[in-house]
Every structure is written in structure tokens, then in C-alpha cells.
Amino acid sequence: MNFPILSFTIFIPLLAGLLILCYPRDRVTWPRVTAVAAAALTFLLTILVYVNYDIAQGGYQFIEKVPWMPIWDISYHVGVDGISAPLLLMAGVVLFCGSAVSWNVSDRPREFYAFLMFLGTSVLGVFASLDLFQLFFFFELAIFPKYLMIVIWGSPKTREYGAMKLTLYLFIGSVFALIGVLAIVFLSGANTFDLLLLEKAGFDTAFQQLWFPFVFFGFAVLAAIFPVHSWAPDGHVAAPTAVSMMLAGVEMKVGAFAALRVGIMLLPEGARVWAPLILALATINVVYGALIALVQTDFKYVIGFSSVSHMGLVMIGFATLNRDGLLGSGLQMFSHGVMTALFFSVVGMVYDRAHTRDIPQLGGLFQKMPAAAVAFIVAGLVSMGMPGFSGFIAEFPIFMGAWQVAPIVAIIAVLGVLITAGYIFLVIRRVFFGDLRPELAHVSDVSLLDKISMGILVVLMIALGVFPSLMYPMIQSGVNYILALVGGA
């Protein structure tokens, strides 16, 4: 295909962001219209990429390559495979919905939308990277939009703490990943940043075992792996709605994806040695995250910890290094991204109207905002892995994969899902049902734009749950490619 669709996908948000910064200060509607339009266009392009990906052929497609720094063999090199195409789609939809539900941001909207767009470019760029330098470049590009957006538009009580904690945790992770990346390129003697070449480089085993933890755990900080998970709930809670959606929905997948692509795919021997540790930590993620979520009284913290718990499942899938586990992880990354974006958008809508996130002070909101309540219930059902929803088709293979390598992990992880069901039902009952408190009598229903964006997310999750074949074969082709590298079954 000659049309550079991936470049357009990546750079439309960036250009929109730059354009928005040039608008006059007093135009408050221009930025949001531009941003939503640009995000819609990006979403459309990601759909096109997804639909046009040739599953039969597999491998990397829509490849574009332009030399960036020939001396070091760095190039602008993009392309998607069966794992990244769904993630690109997920990033597109979350970016669009995030922009749409932020329609009412009135404090410095120019900067808000511009930074949101920069964040979009960052995540899309990582998913489409076939060059290690470029991947890292886009990965780090997200630092300042995240920090500033949380600090400026976040919830007043915790934003300074949450933003700084998140930024430093992620920066620490990424600089260790950087050392690993540099080692892969320079110490191994490969002297190229081209991921396609590095995948075939075949580093020696000791080298892989030494450097795997640097890149894997460095990137996995962004996927909130235990014990460096605590930035996630604090950061998500402090962030404004759109950023929570992007952070929990997309950014955490960016971390997991980078850990997969650079850690597991480049250093499979290292992965094999370190897999038991990852498995153990990720299992803690699942159970610990769910248990903490159970006792939270802040509506947003419940969802924040549920993300920690669910990302643990993704990591378990990675660490199994077998077909079922990786397949499940691929699906779970997509499913969780969509689900948690929906969760956070509903939480944001509730908070905007009720002005509190304290669960005991909420109740009966189903009467006031039925659409949001239904959307939240759907996301909840996905979250607990109910058949018919995308969560089931994602989590089931993970448990199957885990059973093959370590049955105890599968058993404990299933326990985590039971706890998930517990806190989800609890929170649904306490927030949306019961008697409507008099203080909440003024609460209004959500806007049409909100309904549209929630609708898109809900439809995606149900469609995937009912017709897994929409995504199954594609991820399967991506997993085949990984297995060829890892050399597993």
C-alpha cells in the first residue's frame, strides 16, 4: 500500500496539537473541535489499518522506512503486526473517546487538548515502531504531557503528589530500559536499532539473561508490575478523566507492549529464565490489586487498583511464553484498554455531576444517569470475565496458558477474578442503586457526546465477546510470529 497510513495515524494528533497551540487564547471552542475531529480521523485510520491488515500473510505490514540517522542505523520505521494492530485500534478509540468526554474542560483548553494530542502521538508511535530508538523516543515523548496534564487539570487534592510520583516512577523505569536498549545495540555488537534485524540477531544466552531484566522490568513499570505498581492508582486518580483513560487504557499497554517487543521478543532466552519471577510478581498484582480495590471507598481508586490487578493478568500471559497465554495477553490488552477507559469515563462523569467520588456519599445514580450506569455495568461484566463479553475471551486463554506452566498461578489468578466480581458488584450497587441521596437530586444526565463515546466502547466489548473471531485470528498471527522467535510450542 502506497498511502503512508501509519504515518498519518501517528502524526495527525501531533499536527492537530501544534495547530491548537497556535490558536488565539480567547477561542475556547476551536481547540476542542479540532482535537475531537483529529481524534476521530485518527480513530478512522486505525480502523482502516485494522481492517486492511492481511491476516493470512501475517508479519509486519504497512511498513514505512525512512533513514533517520544512518550512522547508527536508526530509521523512522513503522509497521504493525497482529499484536500491535489491535492496540493501535484501541489507542485510536480511547483517544477519540477521551477527547469527546473532555468537551467541558474550560481551564486553558488550548494546552489541554494540545497535550492530549501529543500523548496520542506518543502512544500510537510506540505501537507502530519497528525501530528500537524510535520506540524509545515515542515512549519518552509521553512524559511531559502526562505530568503537566495531571498537575494542571488533575483533582486538586492529590495532583501534585500523583503527578510527580507517576513521572518519577516511569522515568526511573524508562532510564533502566534505556540502559538495556543501549546494551542490546552496542554491547551485543549488533550496532543497529532496527527491530527486525535485532529479532534475528540471536544474542548469546548469558547476554540475554543479564539484560532482560533491565528492559523488561524497565518498561513493565509502566504496566504497573508489582512492586512498582503504586504510581498507577495514585496517578490515575489524580489525573483528569481523559488522561486517566489514556493512562490506564493505553499507556499501561504501551509499557506491556514495549516489555513484550523489546524484552521478550529480542531476548527470549532471558525471558525464559526470568519468567518464573514475572509469573510470581504478576500473580501478586492480580490478587493484591483486587484485594485493595475491594476496600477502597474512593470510586476512582477502585478502578485504579482494578487496573493493577488486570495488568497482572497480561503479565501472567506474557510469562507463560506459550500460545494460549500470549493470545490471552494480546486480547486482554485490547479488552482492558477499552474497558478501563469506559470505567474512567463513567467515574469522571459521576464526579463532574456529583462532585464527590466518595462511595458512601453516592447512591441511586441509575435514576439520574442510566446510560452511564449501564455502560459501567457492562464494563464491570467485562472486568469480571463474564462470558459474552471481551473479558472472558481474553482471560480464559490466560488461565489456560498459566495452567500449562504453573497450575497454582492459574488457581490464584482465578481467585483474583472472584474478588474482582466482588468489588465490581459492590461498587455498582453502592453507586448506582439503592436510594438516591437528597444531595444528588440535582445530578443531570450525561450529554449526547458522552453517550456516543460510551456507546462505542460498549459496542466494541460486546462485539468482541460475542464474535471473538473479529480479533482472534489477528492476534493468533501475531502470537505465531512471537512464538517463532521465542521458540515455544
Binding site: 497551540l21 487564547r25 533513514p67 533517520w68 540517522m69 544512518p70 550512522i71 536508526i74 486553558r108 488550548r110 494546552e111 523516543f137 515515542f138 519518552e140 515523548l141 512524559i143 511531559f144 505530568y147 503537566l148 498537575v151 494542571i152 495532583r159 501534585e160 503527578a163 510527580m164 513521572t167 518519577l168 522515568f171 526511573i172 532510564v175 533502566f176 534505556l178 540502559i179 543501549l182 546494551a183 545495540v185 552496542f186 554491547l187
Partner: protein, 482 residues
């Protein structure tokens, strides 16, 4: 020895310096002849002259494939000279832009004259291939800078800065000169390019050579404000006129690196202790600079400590003693030039309106002047090493050099430091973007020269941060030319 016959290539070798001397004369004459004219015009003349010189340097003073030792081996026209000259001239031109519309008292003919002379000195530092010229060049640079730091004669802080800078400078320069004299005593030559062979032939003990290297490094470490020769930096940056502080922290530091790189690579390429010393300087500068920056409340002092730390990152590149390391250090200098000039320039612009350099007074800036706030964001993030800005690429290159040279420990120290550094840059940004103030509705005037300078710097940061390949090649050609 036969007197060298005059050749056109000798003119070419010092073409930018000739232009600068003409410019200095013009500024002096204009100052005398047009007393009644506005002093701003002198600044514009200086800027135009520096810009033209930079252009002439880029086009006509480009070195050939073979390095040219001119004036009986006094100076050497090679790619390193060329690249560093460009850095100095661009730095000087941008600094002059920031002096326009700045403090009244610093805009005299003498001010611009001294700035031009300091630039000549730096050019010669980069070109010097002889101990005598090297020393003269360092002093030609330093003495005008002492005066420039104290240019605000009615401000005790500025005067103190000038004196302090001079005392430290004289002290370290004396130690360095002692080192030079020992080198001459060992070998009987002052020519840098002859020294190495003679030192090798003399079979001196490694301790003697290490001692000499240490003495010489003292002088260079002072110029680049590396720990433990950094004590002048915070006070001088705080007291000196802000454009001078920006100039000191970028061009003057780059000049220090120019001589450091040439000296180490030409005279002591195989002397292991000298590289260890550089590594120690690097570690000390990074740790002290960053840790002390954490507690600063004054933005100029914060930038001073950050600039000490930045010298430490550049020294990582030097300490690796590889071609990649030198290249990385030079690239870092280029990126640091535009970044720190922008930072100091923005501090100047804000300080002119606020009348304060306290970080707390920066509250509400993003509402008051969104453009300046964005420019400050870019500059501080570039210093912090965040893409897509120049500083990220600079850091990436030096860390890559350390990893490639198997000095992972040094890369790790650098990386831990860059985490600390990001923290205090973010704190400033937090004040700018989050905190409120009562003056948010008041205008913050940005004159045209300032706007031009800031835009040039921001464009430079984005350019070096995204299309870095051509600049890397420049740096590489410079690094291989020593």
C-alpha cells in the same frame, strides 16, 4: 627556524577572528562617534556583525580534508575548530540579542567590545595548538568575562560576582600554567602536537605525567565549572547580568570543553589516570550539581547548579575516551547551547517584568504569558532530557558512549542523576503551570529581539532533537579531527 612565509591560508585560518577584530573596532568607533545615538543600536550592530561572522565562518572558514597547522604551529584549522567557532559565534549572537532591551547599565560600547574580545579568545582556544597561544587565548577569554560579570557596577551582587570569578580564575589559571611549564620542562616544546611523542620518548613516570595532567585539568575544570572547581558558578550566574550568565554557561563552557578535548586527545591519549580524573570530575559534577540544585529557590542559582550537572553529563562522553564519546560530548554541547541560552533568556525576560528571579514568583506564568511558559517548558525539558528536544538526544548519545565503552557504572550514575534533575525541573514547571498569582492579567512584554532569540533557540532544540543526524555528523567530524 625559518620565518614562516605569509600565505593566504593563514588569513583563512583566522578569518573569523579578523572579522571579529574589525567588528570590535567598528563598535568602539561607533561608540565614540555617535554618543547621542541610542545604545541599543550598538547592540544591533554587534549582533549583525556576529551573525555575519558566523555566516563567513560557516562558508569560507570551512576546513579542508587535511587539518591545517598555521602560524608556525600556533593554531590549527580543523573541523573541531570550525564546529566550536560556530558554537561560540552563535552563542555570542544570541546572547547579544538578549542584552538588547535589557538592563540599561550594561549596554555600553565597552560591554559589547568585551563580549567580542571574549569571543575572539574562545575562537583561539578552540584553534590553539600551542601551549603559549592556548594560555593567551584562555586569558583573552577570561579577563573580559570577569569584567562582564561585574558589569552592573551599582549592584553589589554583580560586583561580587566579577571579583569572585576573577579570583577563582586567576587561582586556577596559575595552577594550569604551572602544569604547562612542567610540560615545557619535560619536553622543551610548547607545541601540542609535538608534545605527545616527546613525552613518550622521555619515558617519564606515570605519576609525573598524571600530576601534570591533574594540574592542567584544574584550569579546564574551572572553565567548564566541574566539581570541585565549581564554587564560583552559582554566585557568578546569580550576580552577573543574565545574558552574561547565559553566555558563560554555554559558550564559555564549550570553550573549556574544546581545549579539554583537544588537550586530552592530543597530549595524553594513552594516559589512563587522566581519563580516570575526568570520570571523577564527571561523577562529582553530576551528583553535586543535581543534589544542590534540589534546594534552590532562585532560578538563576538553580540553572547554575544544573549547568554544573550538565557539565558532568558531557564529561561522561569525554571520559569514555572513545570517538563516540567525544562526538557525544560535542553534540551535547551543541544541544546545551541552544537549551541553556533559551533558559537564561527566558529568565531574563521574565525577570525584567517581575523584578525577581525567585521561582515562587513564577506562579501564574502560564496564564500570564502562555508563549513564554511553553518556551520555558521546552527549555527545561530539554535540560531534563525529555524527547523530542535536543537534550534527550544529547543524553542518549553520552549514555550510549558510556555503554559502548563498557562503563556501565558511569552510565548508571548519569541516569540516576538525570532522574534527580527531572524532579527539580518539573517543580519549576509545576509553579509555572499550576500555582496562581495576583498578577495573571498583567501583560508580560516580549520585545522583538527577545522573541527572535527565543524562537531561534526553541527551533534549535526541536531541530537537534528530531533531525539530529546532520549535527551528529558535524560533531563526529569535529571529534575525529583532533
Amino acid at each position: 627556524m625559518e620565518t614562516p612565509i605569509f600565505t593566504p591560508s593563514m588569513v583563512l585560518a583566522i578569518l573569523p577572528e579578523i572579522c571579529l577584530i574589525i567588528l570590535a573596532g567598528l563598535v568602539l568607533m561607533a561608540d565614540l562617534l555617535f554618543r547621542h545615538r541610542k545604545e541599543r543600536d550598538l547592540g544591533l550592530l554587534t549582533f549583525a556583525g556576529l551573525a555575519i561572522t558566523a555566516g563567513i565562518n560557516l562558508i569560507y572558514a570551512r576546513p579542508g580534508l587535511v587539518p591545517d597547522l598555521a602560524f608556525g604551529g600556533m593554531l590549527r584549522l580543523d573541523w573541531a575548530t570550525y564546529v566550536f567557532r560556530t558554537i561560540f559565534l552563535v552563542g555570542a549572537a544570541i546572547s547579544v540579542l538578549f542584552t538588547l532591551d535589557g538592563e540599561k547599565r550594561i549596554r555600553g560600547g565597552a560591554f559589547y567590545l568585551l563580549l567580542i574580545i571574549a569571543t575572539i579568545g574562545m575562537n583561539l582556544m578552540a584553534a590553539a595548538a600551542d601551549l603559549i597561544l592556548l594560555y593567551l587565548a584562555i586569558e583573552t577569554t577570561s579577563i573580559p568575562l570577569y569584567v562582564l560579570s561585574g558589569a552592573l557596577v551599582k549592584d553589589p551582587k554583580s560586583t561580587e560576582a566579577g571579583i569572585k570569578y576573577m579570583l577563582f580564575g586567576a587561582f586556577t589559571s596559575a595552577i594550569m600554567l604551572y602544569g604547562f611549564s612542567l610540560l615545557y620542562g619535560f619536553t622543551g616544546t610548547t607545541q601540542l602536537y609535538a608534545l605527545k611523542d616527546l613525552l613518550d620518548a622521555g619515558q617519564f613516570s606515570i605519576f609525573a605525567l598524571a600530576a601534570v595532567a591533574m594540574l592542567v585539568l584544574v584550569g579546564f575544570a574551572f572553565k567548564i565549572s566541574a566539581v570541585p572547581f565549581h564554587f564560583w558558578a552559582p554566585d557568578v550566574y546569580e550576580g552577573a547580568p543574565t545574558p552574561v550568565a547565559g553566555y558563560l554557561s554555554t559558550a564559555s563552557k564549550a570553550a573549556g570543553f574544546a581545549v579539554l578535548l583537544r588537550f586530552l586527545n592530543v597530549v595524553f591519549p594513552d594516559l589512563y589516570p587522566s581519563w580516570v580524573l575526568v570520570a571523577l570530575l564527571s561523577v562529582g559534577s553530576m551528583i553535586f550539581g543535581n543534589v544542590l540544585a534540589l534546594t534552590q529557590r532562585n532560578i538563576k542559582r538553580l540553572l547554575a547548579y544544573s549547568s554544573i550537572a550538565q557539565a558532568g553529563y558531557m564529561l561522561i562522553g569525554v571520559a569514555t575516551a572513545t570517538e563516540l564519546g567525544n562526538t557525544a560530548a560535542i553534540f551535547y554541547l551543541m544541544s546545551y547551547l541552544v537549551t541553556n541560552l533559551a533558559a537564561f533568556g527566558i529568565v531574563l525576560i521574565i525577570g525584567r517584568t517581575l523584578g525577581s528571579d525567585e521561582i515562587a514568583d513564577y506562579a501564574g506564568l502560564s496564564r500570564r504569558s502562555p508563549g513564554l511558559a511553553l518556551a520555558l517548558l521546552v527549555a527545561l525539558l530539554s535540560l531534563g532530557g525529555v524527547p523530542p528536544f535536543a537534550g534527550f538526544i544529547g543524553k542518549l548519545f553520552v549514555f550510549a558512549a558510556a555503554v559502548q565503552a563498557n562503563m556501565i557504572w558511569l552510565a548508571l550514575i548519569g541516569i540516576i542523576n538525570s532522574i534527580i534533575a527531572l524532579y527539580y525541573y518539573l517543580v519549576v514547571l509545576k509553579v509555572v503551570w499550576l500555582n496562581r498569582s495576583d498578577h495573571e492579567q498583567e501583560a508580560m512584554p516580549v520585545t522583538r529581539p527577545w522573541a527572535l532569540a527565543v524562537v531561534v533557540c526553541v527551533a534549535g532544540m526541536l531541530l537537534l532533537g528530531t533531525l539530529f543526524s546532520p549535527w551528529y555528523q558535524w560533531a563526529m567530524q569535529a571529534a575525529t579531527a583532533f
